[in-house]
């Protein structure tokens, strides 16, 4: 995890880092990842699940239940004329 990698990851994650931060995180994450190397000793397992307990076939019926107060949600998002305002596209 060198500084170049930290900058790349920061861009992907939409974080602006100062040079000082880049240097600091690079050192810290390098330590952390070294500590993670112990995982290479763990045996590979055939299959795996996304969670710790089996959650299988949980499905919802295709019945419309309109949300009772969409205006409340629009207010929370500071919508204007119903539209949610986003930043510039360029």
């Amino acid at each position: 995890m060198d500084e170049e990698m930290v900058r790349k990851v920061a861009r992907v994650a939409r974080l602006d880092l100062t040079d000082e931060e880049v240097g600091r995180y690079a050192a810290e994450l390098e330590d952390i990842l070294s500590a993670f190397e112990v995982l290479d000793e763990a045996p590979a397992m055939e299959d795996f699940d996304p969670g710790p307990v089996p959650v299988e076939d949980r499905l919802r019926d295709d019945e419309v239940k309109p949300y009772p107060d969409p205006e409340r949600l629009r207010r929370e998002m500071r919508a204007a004329d119903g539209w949610v305002r986003g930043p510039r596209l360029t």
Partner: protein, 442 residues
């Protein structure tokens, strides 16, 4: 106590220990014939308070719904008196990673409460008869329970609906309870448990039983390395007391436990880095309305300004672990290791009723000590609480010692869905071992 008295008590406690991010201010709100009072960690949504999850990026987020756990406690006659302080989004073991408020340890206010449910631990410790809802991802209920001298129960993953919980790691987050004795927890765990249509992962649980007991425990040798002298000694005394109660104690080896910490941090930060992507100054919390910036610039600017140090570190780590060319070695491997760790526990549970370890390797550190810790040292503090959290196993932290006046806890881990036996043992333990309340406790 009258509503007015409770209001005063809460205000004074908050002034002294800073456990609340937000609380009921109007004394009249405390009248109303509620049968008990509770608080919720600030990453749980309720309609009457903001939900900031310890972060400036959610400043001004007023949820339009109650978390299911909160809704159920309200329906059972509970008064939600406030939202407790926490490490930002759950990122921390000391309660110190938040600009909104850092709670102080009721046993010694120069020390931290633990984290990330630090405020929850303080509230349960200080306020008489209070129930705190906390959330555990890697140890965030157990740690403050240990440091603040209260009982902390983390149910099985999926036992309590996570609807209304602001996510840290979706395969790791568990809503649980802290209180100064286990009977409060035994009474209210059934209230917050049970399937919820709004959370599919809550729909696979068998019925909750408060029955069962712990007749035998296994202590993995891996849990006895890296402890402070005080904790090691205190733990062995507690073990002796358990044996005196008739609990059979076996010493075992669980070598897989050493993989749990890295696997946990990989999965937790990978999931967190995606959960936090939505916080970008556009739709919730800190919304930036006027800007000349392009969307990528704006998103980056808001996130960098509002997210704390630890949040950024975990986002970087988590993003890294799931990137192209890296995700097999880190993310996929971590998923496999979780299964490995679960199987290691299951092997123990064929022989014993619970696995026993100290909860934390030391007592609550001083705030200046926390400041000096490196990231890796801080992560390593979780090495005892992470394994059951990674595995989604129910576990309880019980105060078992006072080391120079500071509380220390012991942790019991049970098989999936077997919360009952933990609460039974807790009740028995409380007849044998007297918990102390902090001076200035109300």
């Amino acid at each position: 106590m009258t509503g007015k008295d409770l209001a005063t008590t809460v205000r004074l406690a908050d002034e002294r220990y800073r456990m609340f991010a937000e609380k009921l201010e109007d004394p009249l709100a405390y009248e109303g014939g509620h049968s008990f009072h509770f608080s919720a960690k600030d990453n749980l949504c309720s309609v009457e308070f903001q939900a900031r999850a310890g972060s400036r990026i959610l400043e001004g987020y007023n949820p339009p719904f109650d978390a299911t756990a909160i809704k159920r406690l309200k329906e059972a006659g509970g008064l939600l008196i406030g939202k407790t302080n926490m490490d930002e989004f759950g990122f921390g073991s000391f309660g110190t990673n938040s600009d909104i408020g850092v709670p102080l340890n009721p046993f010694d206010t120069t020390r931290c409460c633990g984290g990330s449910s630090g405020g929850a631990g303080a509230a349960a410790s200080v306020l008489d008869g209070h129930l705190s809802i906390g959330v555990s991802t890697g140890g965030s209920i157990s740690c403050p329970a240990s440091f603040c001298g209260v009982v902390g129960l983390v149910p099985t993953y999926g036992r309590v609906s996570r609807w209304g919980l602001i996510d840290y790691g979706n395969s790791l987050d568990k809503i649980g309870l802290l209180a100064s004795s286990s009977d409060m927890i035994a009474r209210y765990l059934p209230v917050i448990s049970g399937p919820d249509a709004l959370d599919p992962t809550s729909q696979v649980q068998p019925p909750l039983s408060i029955e069962g007991d712990v007749g035998s425990v296994a202590i993995p040798e891996e849990a006895l390395a890296g402890l402070s002298d005080g904790v090691r000694k205190a733990f062995e005394e507690a073990v002796g007391r358990l044996e005196g109660m008739g609990v059979e104690v076996r010493r075992v080896a669980m070598p897989e436990l050493r993989f749990a910490l890295p696997a946990y941090y990989i999965l937790a930060t990978a999931e967190a880095s995606t959960n936090l992507a939505r916080y970008c100054g556009m739709r919730y919390g800190d919304i930036v309305e006027e800007t000349d910036l392009g969307f990528n610039e704006l998103f980056s600017q808001v996130r960098s300004k509002d997210l704390g140090n630890e949040a950024k570190r975990r986002i970087l780590l988590g993003t890294f672990c799931r990137m192209v060319g890296l995700r097999d070695r880190y993310y996929i491997k971590a998923l496999q290791v979780r299964k490995l760790v679960i199987q290691a526990y299951e092997r123990q549970f064929r022989e014993v009723d619970a696995v026993l370890t100290p909860t934390m390797p030391f007592v609550a550190p001083r705030l200046d000590e926390v400041e000096k810790m490196s990231a890796l040292e801080a992560y390593h503090a979780d090495f005892l609480t992470v394994p059951p959290n990674l595995a989604g196993l129910p576990h309880i932290s019980l105060p078992c010692a006072y080391i120079d006046g500071l509380p220390a806890g012991m942790q019991l881990v049970a098989p999936h869905w077997e919360e009952g036996r933990l609460l039974s043992l807790a009740a028995r333990w409380e007849r044998e071992f007297q918990y102390r309340r902090p001076e200035g406790g109300a």
